[in-house]
């Protein structure tokens, strides 16, 4: 199972990278970035996964006895953080994109920054 997880997350990353590299529309680029980010998050979780693992939540003494079978909690904690960062990036970049549309009258990343009046 781990291999499937890793493979699928890697493909997500590559799809996203392809998008970032080829798209010119800023919104599409941001979507592609989000796809990469999802891929990376999945990858991190997959790194912590063990075959037939159980959730790292203690419910009774039984789960304490099964500590060895628990999946790694640290990647999950990291992913929690990275999700928030992704959210922040997206929000900030989208608002910048709105401002960009306002000033450049375009959402293409090829729009020239230098010339023209400041709006």
């Amino acid at each position: 199972m781990t291999k499937v997880f890793i493979f699928s997350s890697l493909s997500l990353i590559f799809v996203g990278l392809f998008g970032v590299l080829t798209r010119k529309n800023i919104v599409k680029i941001l979507i592609a970035l989000n796809i990469i980010e999802t891929g990376i998050n999945m990858l991190l979780v997959a790194f912590g996964y063990i075959e037939g693992g159980i959730t790292p939540i203690l419910q009774s003494d039984l789960s304490i006895a099964n500590l060895n079978k628990m999946v790694d909690p640290v990647p999950q904690a990291l992913v929690l953080t990275s999700i928030v960062i992704g959210l922040g990036t997206t929000a900030f970049a989208l608002s910048l994109a709105m401002r960009y549309k306002n000033t450049h009258n375009s959402v293409s990343i090829r729009a020239i920054d230098e010339e023209g009046v400041n709006i």
Binding site: V20, L21, I109, I112
Partner: protein
């Protein structure tokens, strides 16, 4: 010892503070130069003086100490540089009354670096002073005027390239010989080369290139004409007479001993390859400088090329690798300092009074500026190497040395260059001072006293050194003896050649010359008198070329003076011009610049480039 360096540095600070007040700066400048001259005079013979500074910086695993020490050859250069500088600074006193800019601050800094170069004990401090000279010269040449910017940029680029090469050379030298000190590194480098290590030759060539750049020798002969044409005249006098010798000094103390004692394949049993390399560079510089000087219309450019050719003579003297040639070269250094200073002072005086440096627009100034004319006359006689004045002795020694080593090609080149020198020198004399005075210069007056005095001193110096070469040769030979060369201390008037029975007593030559002067004076007094007509009658046949929309100056006899000669040599000059190369480098840089700029302007391919960068790193990772 150390105060010799510190006084100019402190003076720089004071000059900077009083920069707006010319009445303070130039006298102060003169005073400091006088002090330096006196101090140098007083430390003659004290070769053990030295100072070391520990700056706490470590390199190659050892603490770097910077040291300056009094050394004979350095003293020889420093003293005569200081002498000429002192005389020029008297001239500056009067010359700078009108000018808006004030070059004295930067100039003082250059004098500081000058002393540092001559008394450097190790290559690091030598390099530091060398670099200081590079950028300060930039500011001195531009002197805050835009028209001089191009020449100054050219000079700056060249000297920075030279300094970079030297930095590489010094680093290699330090790594391979384990020392940065100059004297031990000579022996170290000889050992490195003799153990058939190619890196030694590379080091030597890197050093040589740097020094050639500074001394305006063959591939780098373009900067003097660009710089001298636009820089402030009094500073240019200093530059052409003193600063251009900075490249010669390290050659004398480093290149010559090394090239003289390494085992390399010999050519025709006369000298090793490197000797011939230096020789050919010298010969080409001498010939090329002369040829180019002949074709110039700007007098400052003319004498710029004359400097190139004189540097060629000095290199030829080095190339002979005989003691007479070496002495001759070092003697020529001082001779050239004196005569170039004399000539450039007169040019500065002419520019001061007329504001013009194109020769065909001048003429007849002999009637208005007789003292300037006299100085110029003596200067060009000296430059042509005619006996009673100072250029003769050194050239004679160099040719003697070349002949004794059977380097006939070089001797021929040198004789050709010396002969060619007559052509341009006479042309300058005829165009500037002889002929007819243009109407616009009717009211030109002789220069004021502060400027006349240095010219007088120069005349005296030229005659003195010409007739009594001992005043220079004595310190020189004792300096060489102190360093360890096997030489006799020279007598006052007699020069020793290296061929059999080749000695020359300049006293006798002087007497003969005096007799000649007396005869020609008699001829002048009793001969026919000339008649004066207005200038335009003479060369436009009474017409007014302005009416046809043509500049009358073009019809002056001194415009395109040597046209046939020029047509003869033009193809050759075009073929060897290195300026196109530099220009094309510049163009390519600009082209590249445009391409990359487009990249940075958009910023759109940022991620693409990012991933290409990642790919490059991956390539590094794949090749384990």
């Amino acid at each position: 010892m150390i105060e010799l360096l510190f006084i100019p540095l402190i003076a720089t600070l004071f000059l900077a503070i009083f920069i707006k007040n010319k009445k303070v700066t130039w006298p102060l400048f003169l005073a400091v130069n006088g002090y330096v001259l006196y101090k140098l005079y007083s430390i003659y013979g004290m070769w053990s003086l030295s100072n070391k500074f520990d700056i706490g910086y470590e390199i190659l695993g050892a603490k770097l100490t910077l040291g300056v020490s009094n050394n004979p050859i350095g003293w020889y250069f420093a003293f005569f540089s200081a002498l000429i500088t002192f005389i020029i600074s008297i001239f500056s006193l009067g010359f700078n009354q009108k000018s808006k800019e004030n070059v004295s601050v930067i100039w003082m800094l250059i004098i500081f670096s000058n002393l540092g170069i001559f008394f450097a004990q190790d290559w690091v401090i030598f390099f530091m002073m060398w670099e200081v000279m590079g950028w300060t010269s930039f500011f001195a040449i531009t002197n805050a005027r835009d028209k001089a910017l191009d020449g100054a940029k050219y000079y700056l680029a060249l000297s920075l390239i030279g300094a970079s090469l030297m930095l590489i050379a010094i680093s290699l030298l330090g790594a391979y010989t384990g020392t940065f000190a100059i004297t031990p590194s000579i022996f170290g480098l000889i050992q490195v080369i003799n153990s058939s290590n190619k890196i030694g030759i590379v080091i030597l060539l890197l050093f040589l290139t740097t020094f050639l750049i500074k001394s305006a020798a063959f591939p780098f002969y373009m900067w003097p004409q660009k710089v001298y044409a636009e820089g402030p005249e009094d500073y240019i006098t200093f530059m052409s007479s003193v600063m251009i010798k900075y490249g010669i000094y390290p050659m004398a103390i480093f290149i010559v001993p090394v090239v003289g004692s390494i085992d390399l394949p010999k050519i025709l049993n006369t000298g090793n390859i490197l000797q011939y390399v230096i020789g050919y560079i010298g010969a080409i510089s001498a010939v090329l400088g002369t040829l180019l000087a002949i074709f110039q219309t700007d007098m400052k450019k003319l004498f710029a090329y004359s400097s190139v050719s004189n540097m060629g003579y000095i290199l030829l003297g080095f190339a002979s690798m005989t003691i007479v040639g070496f002495e001759g070269s070092l003697f020529h250094v001082v001779n050239h300092m004196i005569l170039k200073a004399a000539i450039f002072l007169t040019l500065a005086a002419v520019v001061f009074r007329t504001g013009e440096s194109e020769m065909h627009k001048l003429g007849g100034l002999v009637y208005r500026m007789p003292l300037t004319f006299m100085t110029f006359l003596l200067g060009i006689i000296a430059a042509a190497g005619i006996p009673p004045l100072n250029g003769f002795g050194s050239k004679w020694m160099i040719i003697q040395a070349l002949m004794s080593r059977k380097m006939v090609v070089f001797a021929i080149a040198m004789i050709f260059a010396s002969t060619g020198a007559f052509m341009y020198l006479f042309r300058a004399l005829a165009s500037i001072f002889l002929g007819q005075l243009p109407d616009r210069y009717k009211d030109v007056k002789e220069v004021p006293l502060t400027m006349a005095l240095p010219m007088l001193i120069m005349m005296v110096l030229m005659l003195l050194v010409g007739v009594v070469p001992g005043v220079v040769m004595k310190p020189l030979t004792s300096a060489l003896k102190a360093v360890g060369y096997n030489v006799e201390v020279a007598s006052l008037t007699v020069l020793e050649g290296s061929l059999k029975n080749a000695t020359i007593d300049l006293k006798i030559v002087f007497y003969m010359f005096v007799a000649g002067v007396i005869i020609s004076a008699i001829m002048y007094l009793f001969g026919n008198k000339s008649e004066t007509v207005p200038q335009n009658d003479n060369y436009t046949g009474g017409e007014y070329p302005e009416e046809w929309g043509v500049d009358a100056d073009r019809f002056n006899y001194s415009y395109a003076f040597y046209q046939p000669f020029k047509e003869m040599f033009d193809p050759l000059l075009e073929a060897i011009s290195i300026d196109d190369f530099f220009a094309s480098v510049g163009r390519n840089f600009e082209y590249m610049s445009n391409e990359v700029q487009a990249l940075f302007k958009r910023g759109e391919g940022a991620v693409l480039l990012f991933s290409i960068g990642v790919l490059l790193l991956i390539l590094g990772g794949l090749i384990i």
